[in-house]
Symmetry: C2
Subunit: 164 residues, 2 copies
DNA sequence: GATCAATCGTTCGGTAACTGAACCGTTCGG
DNA sequence: CCGAACGGTTCAGTTACCGAACGATTGATC
C-alpha cells in the first residue's frame, strides 16, 4: 500500500497550522530576509545591532556592551575586530584603566548605520504592507501579549538572550 | 561627554518596536522553546518533522522525502541514520530498484511520534494562552496575510525552504 | 609596598547544524 | 552494450557562535 503516489496525489504532510508553527516559520523567514536586506551594505545583523548599540551610548566599554547585548566577550571581540578593520568604529584606550577599550563610531560608521536604519525601516514597512494601519497595530498588540505570555521581556532580539 | 552613564541612567538601545523585529524575535524564541519541549523525548525538531513526514506517507523513498522536506540528500542521510540507529524507523530495500531505500516507521517510532505530537499541541496551546479564541483566530489570519505578502507559501517550515 | 583576587580583552579549540562536491552501485534510454 | 542519470553515502568545509585558559592590569587587604 502507498506505493504509487508520485505524480498526481499531492501527498503533503498536513502542516501544523498552529500559531506556534506559524510564528516560528514566519520569524525565521523574516530574519533571513532582513539579513538579505543588509547584504548590499555588507553588514551582518549582529554587526548592525552593535553599531546601533554603540551609537546609542558612545564611548562605552567593550565588556559593558557585551553584557548589554547578551553576547559573549569572545564573540564581541570578533565583531569589533571586523568593524574596526573596516573603520566603522574604533577602540580607544580608557584614560585611567589600561585594560578597558572604549568604543566609538567613526564618521563612516555613522553614515553606514544611517543607511542601514533606513533600509530596516523600508523592510519593516514591506513586511507590514499587507495590513492596514489598524490591523498592523492590532497585530503588534497581539504579538506583544504572546511575547509577554512567554516571559520574554521586550528589548534585545531573543536570539541574544535565549541561550537556554 | 557620555562618560558617566553606568549606575542610574538606564541607557538602553531604543529597541526596534517594528513588526519585523517583533516577529523575528518571537519566532526565534518560540523555535527555541519548541526545541526545548522535545528534549525529554530526545528528538530534534527536524527529526520530529521527518517522523511526521514518514508517517504521512509510509514507504516513500528517501530522495523523494528529502525533496518534499526541502533538505539536502546528505543531511537526510544523517537524520535517517540516527533515527534508524534508535529503531524509530527503518530503511527497506525497494523491490525492483536496488538503489532506493523506502522509509517506514517502526512501532516505537509511531509511539514516540504520538507523544511528540501531543507535546507539540500542548505547547501550541501554551503559546496561544494569552489570547482568547477570537483573538487567536485573528492573529492567525493576520499572520497568514503577512506570510502571503512575503510570498511564503504555507507548508513546511521556512527554515527548510528559505535557503536564499 | 607586596601579595592576591578580580576584571578586561584576547586567543584558541571546539560544537551544532548544516551544505556541496565527489563517489559508488545501479538503472535506463538508445 | 554503453554512457548518462539517479539514489544514497561520505567527507571535507562553512557559519555562527561558546567556554576555558591566558596575559595584562587593577583594586583590595595585609
Amino acid at each position: 500500500m502507498a506505493e504509487r503516489n508520485s505524480e498526481t496525489a499531492e501527498v503533503v504532510t498536513p502542516p501544523f497550522r498552529s500559531v506556534a508553527f506559524l510564528l516560528s516559520s514566519l520569524g525565521y523567514a523574516i530574519s533571513r530576509r532582513f539579513h538579505h536586506m543588509l547584504e548590499p551594505l555588507d553588514l551582518e545583523p549582529g554587526e548592525f545591532a552593535l553599531l546601533r548599540a554603540v551609537s546609542a551610548s558612545d564611548g562605552e566599554a567593550q565588556s559593558a556592551l557585551a553584557e548589554r547585548m547578551h553576547i559573549s566577550p569572545s564573540w564581541m571581540v570578533a565583531i569589533v575586530d571586523e568593524l574596526e578593520r573596516r573603520e566603522l568604529l574604533e577602540r580607544r584606550p580608557h584614560a585611567r584603566d589600561r585594560r578597558v577599550r572604549n568604543l566609538h563610531l567613526t564618521v563612516g560608521g555613522k553614515k553606514l548605520l544611517k543607511q542601514a536604519e533606513k533600509r530596516a525601516q523600508q523592510f519593516d514597512r514591506q513586511v507590514g504592507d499587507p495590513l492596514n494601519a489598524t490591523e498592523l497595530q492590532q497585530l503588534v498588540e497581539l504579538l506583544q501579549r504572546v511575547e509577554a505570555g512567554l516571559d520574554l521581556q521586550p528589548g534585545a532580539h531573543a536570539a541574544m538572550r535565549e541561550r537556554l
